[in-house]
């Protein structure tokens, strides 16, 4: 094994301020660090998942100023002054009967069995919330089209579409 004492990490760092889930974080990052890596590795917000790192799977979907974005395709240094919301910040907060209160779409995912391994799920929820909010959930076909950036290899699409539809219809979540 060719080994060395590593040279100090001299990469140029930049001090930035990020606003994530209504909290402000100050940190030093390299300009090349993606928002996804910064969320996961520095802020310990590991809910956003890495499925491809290339904008091809949707597992890393977050909201930036209310719009969906693939966190793996954004540079953290460019997100200053923006409101970032991740899966950890989507629920209203607080507890009911000792259980964390969920966003209606999270609850609908349980009811309609919209997940299996759970790895794509945070991304699906973030996209689903945006699809509902932006009025693209008028029919199953429309939901499928607008959710097509989020791969679910477990193939839970039927449940995902049903969950989004049910929230759109205002189903009370039982």
């Amino acid at each position: 094994m060719a080994a060395t004492t590593p040279a100090a990490d001299t990469a140029q760092k930049q001090a930035i301020t990020l606003k994530v889930n209504r909290k402000t974080y100050k940190l030093d990052v390299e300009p090349r660090e993606t928002l996804l890596d910064v969320l996961r590795e520095r802020l310990d917000l590991t809910g956003s998942k890495k499925g491809c790192d290339h904008g091809q799977c949707g597992a890393c979907t977050v909201h930036v100023d209310g719009r969906t974005a693939n966190a793996c395709l954004l540079l953290a240094v460019m997100q200053q002054g923006r409101e970032i919301t991740t899966i950890e910040g989507i629920a209203p907060g607080g507890k009911t009967n000792g259980q964390e209160r969920l966003h209606p779409l999270q609850a609908a995912f349980i009811k309609h069995d919209g997940l299996q391994c759970g790895y794509c799920t945070p991304g699906q929820i973030m996209s689903g919330v945006a699809v509902l909010r932006d009025g693209h959930a008028d029919s199953p076909a429309e939901i499928r089209e607008w959710m097509s950036g989020n791969i679910c290899r477990c193939g839970a699409y039927a449940g995902i579409v049903a969950a989004i539809e049910s929230v759109k219809k205002g189903d009370t979540i039982g």
Binding site: K49, Q56, R144, R153
Partner: protein
């Protein structure tokens, strides 16, 4: 037919669509997958990979890499060679390089590893390593691999003079040949079941954490079979001190496995070696392209399929000849005795006299293939062959393919049925399944519509697949992996307050074990499923088991749970007799309590009995309320299904629309209908994938042409049709709860239904077969060649 619930909803035993216990954490982003693990002082590993499919390594220059800030070490095959860790066994007892010392055998093969203080630094280091290669002409086309002019690839094997790995055959050759020679009708097709990729949305990875102080390795790893992996690690690295008691494998949440997370890939071993040498935790996570290009490949069978029959539609014999492209090593995940897995189930759901099957496996310059991608060891290839040929035969004699199936099904009275290749099908009712599917889809109506459309020149097709699966490996007399018998295990501990924890040798990757296992125990013990905690994946705490793949969890570990729970129920009966002062024979069980026959007011709940096991147990009885069972299945289980697919094809563009897809599955008794439906949806989606979209393409130089998710087409919500599902229930007679397993049936059964539908649509133009994936271009080209457009 629906599953009858014997327990109340509060208990939540079998048949209840209980909501999944695991959902809460996943939905809140609180799942704990390998890449979410962060340990103090953790280092990161990246891997230099070969750009060539076949080349000699002349030099690896790590000098520049070692100057990259944050880079700590570069590890090569020569380094591992010093510890005799540069080669490792595959699951099929072939050998595989961990890192090469001389030659690379496929594009994207691991060449060297970089260890650094951050993920980014490791990647920088990877870019800085300079490797000089002497490029050689690779063997890519499996049909040319046995040419005398082809280079012998495995020169590491003394005396090897060609690229042949093994020959396998089963059945009655002479009798089959005689039947073929005299049969009125013989049909034949050459088909390829292409190389595909599991593409689980989480790639493979690990954190190897070796402690020099304790000489102990904790391996956090994306593995479907943690116990078997611990044994393999001990076999590979025992000689450097990592004997089995010094190794703990933890498989945390897994983001989809589908068979791709059964084998041991080089990255895992290099990470262990790095942690062992440096004494710090080392994390290795593949990126998506590495995953798609280097591991988790399945299928790649070239099959010459033949069927012989009478003029009026009685199947008489089948013959299958397989050329199996294994890549550069046989790393299939098959039980030892079965080099082609369960391919010999290819006689299908039909009752006929004789078959002959043979296979030859060969080496090529491709990555190791043969993982059992959502399939019980090559069942998918077998089912595709028989179901395609059944339709092909029906087309040849002009008979309706549904009727032809009815005329050939193994009748339900004939079970247990002895297949010509030696399987004993435990149970089935194929006719009921197909009838139900035909009614659900209005088969007669569709055929009428098709006739009308054909008259107008429009392309509409109806495809059927009535398949038999063979899962739940397996009985110890026949089934082992690396010598370890394929039992599985459950350990149940009920605490004094009546709440329980149960641990298993399997490992869920999305199947919902935390819910279904709890339901099995609830069914048997009457303790509410929500009070039963399920734990898997930690070799220090769970009993030994062979893991989750090949739809074996319910048939093996699920059975173990039921048997262990029954042991506890027997103990509860003894305690109840003692407390109620009656004989055991005077007691009757209803879910959740024992009561005295004829005096139901005299009863004890299971919770009271468990409490007594700790506080007031009969003299001479062992205290506590725990049981373990290692279940060795007496036979495999044989789920079946009847699928019908309807497609409309645009003649001008070849575009295929799946209009309807009805799937009637028979997986025996159902533990959780909601979870079964989810499994079926998922399996169907992974069935349409290879039928219409997915296959890995290599050029003549062995370059993979679609190694990203941009080019490898995984179905999204748009490509997935609206699946219509239903059931027939034929319980397995030998399984303690009559269940059979379901996760893979749809992946196995769907591709031929889709292919049959497409070929049915095109058959008026003389098209008899198309290889999957059937793309619009393939359809358009075939129509063009036949002069249809």
């Amino acid at each position: 037919m629906t599953q009858v619930c014997k327990t109340s909803k509060a208990i939540g035993g079998m048949g209840h669509s209980m909501k999944r216990k695991e959902d809460g954490r996943f939905l809140q982003g609180k799942g704990n997958y390998v890449d979410d693990i962060k340990l103090d002082g953790m280092l990161y590993m990246d891997i230099v990979r070969s750009p060539y499919a076949y080349a000699k390594i002349k030099k690896i220059d790590s000098e520049a890499a070692l100057k990259v800030p944050g880079v700590l070490a570069v590890i090569t095959g020569r380094d591992l060679e010093q510890y005799n860790l540069h080669w490792m066994p595959t699951l099929m007892s072939d050998t595989q390089m961990v890192l090469p010392t001389d030659t690379v055998m496929y594009q994207a093969q691991e060449v060297a590893a970089i260890i650094a203080t951050s993920r980014y630094a490791a990647r920088d280091g990877r870019e800085a390593v300079r490797v000089e290669y002497e490029v050689m002409k690779p063997v890519i086309d499996p049909f040319k691999a046995l040419d005398p002019s082809a280079p012998v690839l495995r020169t590491d094997k003394p005396g090897k003079t060609d690229n042949h790995i093994w020959h396998w055959e089963v059945g009655d050759k002479a009798r089959t040949e005689a039947v073929f020679a005299s049969a009125d009708v013989v049909v034949k097709e050459q088909m390829h079941i292409p190389r595909i990729h599991v593409a689980s949305i989480e790639t493979c990875g690990c954190v190897a954490d070796y402690s020099k102080v304790n000489n102990h390795l904790t391996m956090y790893m994306t593995t479907q079979a943690p116990h078997a992996i611990r044994t393999v690690i001990a076999l590979v690295a025992g000689h450097v001190g990592l004997t089995e008691e010094k190794v703990r494998v933890i498989s945390p949440d897994i983001g989809g496995g589908f068979g791709g997370k059964v084998p041991v890939y080089p990255g895992y071993v290099i990470a262990i070696a790095a942690s062992f040498l440096i004494g710090k935790p080392v994390k290795w996570i593949e990126d998506r392209s590495e995953n798609l290009q280097a591991d988790s490949f399945a299928r790649d069978y070239h099959i010459t399929a033949e069927m012989a029959g009478t003029k009026d539609g009685k199947i008489l014999a089948t013959r299958f000849k397989v050329l199996a492209d294994h890549g550069y090593t046989d790393a299939s995940a098959n039980p030892s005795k079965f080099p082609t897995g369960m391919f010999s189930i290819a006689t299908g759901s039909y009752d006929y006299g004789t078959t002959f099957m043979e296979a030859d496996a060969i080496y090529t310059n491709k990555p190791p293939g043969g993982v059992a991608y959502r399939c019980s060891f090559r069942v998918t290839e077998a089912v595709h062959a028989i179901e395609r040929m059944t339709d092909r035969y029906a087309l040849e004699i002009g008979k309706d393919p549904a009727q032809l199936r009815f005329d050939n099904f193994i009748p339900k009275e004939a079970f247990p049925w002895h297949s010509p290749t030696g399987w004993i099908y435990d149970s089935g009712d194929y006719e009921a399944g197909l009838r139900k599917a035909m009614d659900a889809i209005d088969y007669e109506g569709l055929r009428k519509e098709q006739t009308e459309k054909r008259a107008k020149g429009e392309l509409m097709g109806i495809g059927i697949s009535t398949f038999t699966e063979v899962v739940g490996a397996g009985p110890s007399k026949d089934f082992d992996i690396l010598g370890i018998k394929m039992f599985d295990s459950a350990e149940i501990r009920v605490h004094p307050t009546g709440k329980a924890i149960a641990r298993f040798g399997t490992k869920s990757q999305g199947q919902g074990h935390e819910t279904t296992y709890a339901q099995i125990i609830a069914e048997e013990l009457g303790i509410p499923a929500e009070n039963i905690q399920i734990e898997e994946g930690d070799t220090d705490t769970a009993p030994y088991g062979l893991g989750t793949y090949a739809s074996r969890s319910t048939p093996t570990a699920g059975a173990a749970a039921a048997v262990a729970a029954r042991k506890l129920r027997d103990k509860a009966r003894k305690i109840a007799a003692y407390l109620l002062e009656v004989s055991e024979d005077d007691l009757e069980w209803e879910p959740g309590k024992f009561f005295v026959k004829g005096a139901p007011e005299k009863s004890k709940t299971i919770q009271e009995l468990v409490f007594a096991a700790y506080t007031n147990h009969p003299q001479g009885m062992e205290a506590g309320f725990e049981a373990t069972h290692y279940y060795d299945p007496p036979n495999l289980t044989f789920p079946s299904g009847a699928y019908i697919c309807v497609v409309d094809i645009d003649k001008e563009t070849g575009e295929i629309k799946v209009r309807r897809f009805v799937a009637i599955d028979d997986c025996g008794n159902i533990i959780n209908p909601m979870i079964v439906q989810g499994q079926v949806h998922g399996g169907l989606t992974q069935g349409i994938a290879p039928a219409m979209y997915e296959s890995l393409i290599y050029d003549d130089d062995g370059n993979i042409l679609n190694g990203t998710l941009m080019d490898y087409l995984v179905p999204t919500a748009v490509e997935s049709p609206n699946w219509e599902t239903g059931h027939t229930i034929t319980p397995s007679p030998h399984h303690p709860i009559g269940a059979k397993g379901v996760g893979e049936s749809p992946t196995v059964g769907a591709p031929p239904a889709i292919a049959n539908a497409i070929v049915d649509a095109l058959s008026p133009y003389g098209i008899t077969h198309l290889d999957i994936p059937i793309t619009p271009f393939k359809v358009w080209k075939a129509l063009k060649e036949k002069g249809a457009i």
